[in-house]
Symmetry: C2
Subunit: 164 residues, 2 copies
Amino acid sequence: MRPSACFAATAAVVLACRPAATPPPDTSTAARAAIDAANANWPRLTATGHADSIADFYRADAVLLPPNMSPVHGRDSIRAFFAVMNAMAGATLTLRGESVWASGPSAVELGRWTFTWPDSARRPPGVPPVDSGKYLVRWVEENGQWLMAQDIWNSDLALPTTPR
Amino acid sequence: MRPSACFAATAAVVLACRPAATPPPDTSTAARAAIDAANANWPRLTATGHADSIADFYRADAVLLPPNMSPVHGRDSIRAFFAVMNAMAGATLTLRGESVWASGPSAVELGRWTFTWPDSARRPPGVPPVDSGKYLVRWVEENGQWLMAQDIWNSDLALPTTPR
């Protein structure tokens, strides 16, 4: 091959793979598998009084955005948030990812949650026996592990009509 | 350049720019500007009784995930959702994006919303004069325009303690 032909071939390769022309790698399959695997732990951990362990699925600097309270910053505070549920052993929180959109080391999951109280669990007054709703989570891959960075949810249940 | 040297040089270029080695393009600056510009319309549209126009900031197949009701699917239904606010003219909904993470044609925005009722607005019974909370939105760029694809929020205000 003549040098000029070599230059042309190399230039063509370089132009064909400029970053701007390369879509972000689709990591949906890997992200989906990791997210489903993480979510599968929630029913067992909540039902057995180990809800505090759920904090391990969050980044150290994650932000939890629960309904009707201020944001919860950082894994230690998130652990304390879920630890409150340890005393509700029997009540079970189930997650079901409906859609995952991934791009490189980040992903967004849209899903549904269901919180059920069996008759044997001591359900506080005013808490419905079944509550469910939707959530949106931003996941980030760090050192091969997918962790939650931002997590927000709310309920489908209508509020009571009494003034607040 | 000898053919073997040309091959080696071309192979080195190809290996150096494989998609897996190319990070997704960082579109944060453009996404942030577009998101801030879209959000800046909300106070005016809500205060003047044109909240239904907010639907134009959503994709045709977007999903709205409001607290205490079922998801709202599609721009037409989203328009009907916001149209309810047209009768509350004077009440003002303000958005403030706190963080935007973008990768190619998609972005996630974490922000805060504030809903205020001036004394002149006819505030329904039981509705607090000021409500505020957090939101998480997944944005997608289509034909140069950034639009909301999934939008979820909740309030920081504690619920009444009466049983529901």
